[in-house]
């Protein structure tokens, strides 16, 4: 009897361990592979490598589109992150702190970019922008702002999730205490609630940045000839050449995002915030 339960307990643990390890390998392997490839000496990708070199990294700088794409992506991602938070934070307050008609519909609307294919979002934004340009004469298509608007849409569901989860975690009586001490709802939100959901907002900013920085589908439809983002530059390069330059660019992209994660994790415990 006792031996039997021990056996099952061990089997359960081993299965669990294997599953965790498997998932981990599945997630890390592509990243590791890309990093490895970026140092290959040979131009035609083949295993095993003929030698190692850093030439693909210097090759990047010879390709103007990667440099300008990187800056555009960075600019758009920062803009989308900042504006996205300005939209989602008040929306999350409204959703968690008040009851109003159409609350559910409002929530679904904000989450819908997760459901609607990005290519559809991009296409419909493009058409709206063109209409807008015709009406007002303002250039939107091809502007950093136009791109950022598209990216804000897809960052919203992520930051909504994180911020509402954090808001739900804030003890309501703490906010009520602030009210009873003479703080208006706005002051209570700024002085009490915001400092308490700060980690969630940092995490939301990070996720927004990552989602925007890596986005391809929406950007594809909103750029004009001559304008490019990093993912588009990668795609276009791949269309006529496959060499480790792509791996090197990806390695830099991974490094940017990885650095973001590490820095953020120093300020807030990401694992804890995301678990909420």
């Amino acid at each position: 009897m006792v031996r039997g339960t021990r056996f099952w307990e061990r089997l359960r643990r081993i299965t669990f361990g294997v599953a965790v390890a498997g998932t981990f390998v599945f997630m890390v392997l592509p990243i590791a592979l890309v990093l490895w490839l970026s140092f290959f000496g040979n131009e035609i990708l083949s295993l095993p490598p003929e030698g190692y070199s850093l030439r693909w990294y210097s090759e990047i700088f010879a390709q103007r589109q990667f440099i300008s794409g990187f800056w555009t992506s960075l600019e758009v991602a920062l803009l989308a992150t900042a504006c996205g938070l300005l939209v989602t934070t008040p929306a999350s307050f409204a959703l968690t702190r008040s009851q109003f008609r159409g609350r559910e519909a409002f929530l679904q609307l904000l989450m819908s970019p997760l459901i609607v294919p990005a290519i559809v979002i991009g296409a419909s934004l493009y058409m709206s922008f063109v209409e807008f340009e015709v009406l007002t004469g303002l250039p939107v298509v091809g502007s950093v702002w136009g791109l950022a608007i598209g990216h804000i849409l897809i960052t919203i569901p992520w930051s909504m999730r994180l911020i509402t989860a954090n808001l739900i975690g804030v003890d309501r009586s703490v906010e009520e205490a602030a009210l009873s001490l003479g703080a208006s709802p706005l002051v209570a939100a700024l002085k009490v609630t915001l400092p308490l959901i700060w980690p969630g907002m940092v995490a939301a900013a990070l996720f927004s940045f990552v989602v925007s920085f890596g986005n391809l589908e929406i950007s594809l439809l909103l750029v004009t000839p001559g304008q490019t983002t990093l993912p588009i530059a990668i795609l276009q390069y791949l269309q006529w050449k496959i060499d480790p330059t792509i791996a090197a660019v990806s390695a830099i992209q991974i490094a940017v995002i990885g650095t973001g994660l590490l820095i953020t994790d120093r300020f807030v415990n990401l694992a804890k915030v995301v678990q909420r």
Binding site: S173, E176, A177, L179, S180, L181, G182, A183
Partner: protein
């Protein structure tokens, strides 16, 4: 003038009537206790006074001003929550200073008043700590200081002691009563603990399922409860069924005992006798209200002993006595004794 007035206040949650037509007044400097079992509507009442919950009907006045439709931040109430609700990201000092900063007090005034409030609750050495670095009792005192420092018109306390252990609860209870009397601050305290209510309250409001049962001083409620709920909620009570005699001076039980009593409404259907108001005698004695009885059970409860005595085939009473008064008699189950009921503490009770 009353500091807080509730005028026919009700609160409905959907179909459910959580607070049913409450009217009460709290006098200047008075400590009023809202007492009742879990779910009876105490917190809801307090929240309507603080302004966190809207009343469905009726009006709330604070110092004569109708605040029924005022938001909480314009009511000047000091609230101490059950979980204290300290601001976790602010130091003890900043927690207490929060209300003063909202009132745009000068920095020197803030420092002075916060220091005074913290020394009042004996926490001045901990001013720079964060709330998570405090014990439960210390957090509770910070919450009290934070509520007091704004000099509220009324202090509202929702079970402020329930998260403290029994020993600490006793000390903090005394301390809070001392503070309240020292500062003469009008206070409404919510509790379901009758000891706490009796020892702290100037007056008690006994509530059951959303309705006020009785309002009065602890003595009044204990001596002359208006209905069986109040009688059994405030202290222990024996109930003997029967009916009053025509002039109300006697109460005749079902099995025919005639017990002289203090007061009895004409529609009383039971007589309440407090367990400690029954005297135990070894031999019959002269005078009114002496009845033979048989000891059924004797239970030692430390400082007191509890005896169950059978008066008639269908009537028993519980008697509590100091253990020191019981021990010398060696009362045993089955023993014949006599009881004497003090007429002043036998009260007829009408049905609810």
């Amino acid at each position: 003038m009353a500091t807080v007035t509730l005028d026919r206040v009700s609160k409905r949650f959907g179909e459910f009537l959580a607070v049913d037509d409450f009217s009460l007044e709290v006098a200047e400097g008075e400590l009023l206790v809202l007492l009742g079992p879990s779910g009876c509507g105490k917190t809801t009442t307090l929240r309507m006074i603080a302004g966190f919950t809207d009343a469905s009907a009726g009006s709330v006045r604070i110092r004569g001003r109708d605040v029924t439709h005022e938001p909480p931040y314009r009511r000047n109430t000091g609230v101490v929550f059950q979980n204290y609700a300290l601001f976790p990201h602010l130091t003890v000092f900043e927690n207490v200073a929060f209300g003063l900063r909202r009132r745009r007090a000068s920095e020197s005034e803030i420092v002075e008043r916060v220091d005074r409030a913290l020394s009042l609750v004996k926490l001045d050495p901990l001013a720079q700590r964060m709330p998570r670095q405090l014990s439960g009792g210390q957090q509770q005192r910070v919450a009290v200081a934070r509520a007091l420092v704004i000099e509220p018109d009324v202090l509202l306390l929702d079970e402020p002691l329930s998260n403290l252990d029994a020993k600490l609860r006793h000390d903090v209870r005394q301390e809070m009563r001392r503070l309240q009397q020292l500062l003469k601050i009008t206070t409404i305290l919510v509790t379901h603990d009758q000891d706490e209510a009796m020892s702290m309250g100037d007056r008690l409001v006994v509530i059951n399922s959303g309705r006020i049962q009785q309002i009065g001083s602890p003595q009044e409620l204990y001596r002359t409860p208006r209905n069986p709920f109040v009688a059994s909620f405030i202290g222990q009570a024996n109930f003997i069924e029967g009916a009053p005699s025509r002039d109300g001076s006697l109460f005749v039980t079902r099995s025919g005992l005639s017990i002289a009593c203090a007061s009895s409404p004409s529609n009383a259907n039971s007589l309440m006798i407090r367990p400690e108001a029954i005297e135990l005698l070894d031999a019959p004695a002269a005078g009114a209200n002496v009845f033979p009885a048989t000891v059924e059970v004797v239970t030692y409860l430390g400082s007191t002993s509890e005896l169950i005595l059978r008066l008639t085939d269908s009537e028993t009473v519980i008697v509590t006595k100091p253990a020191s008064a019981v021990a010398p008699h060696h009362w045993m189950p089955g023993q014949r004794v006599f009881v004497r009921v003090d007429p002043a503490s036998a009260v007829g009770i009408a049905p609810m």
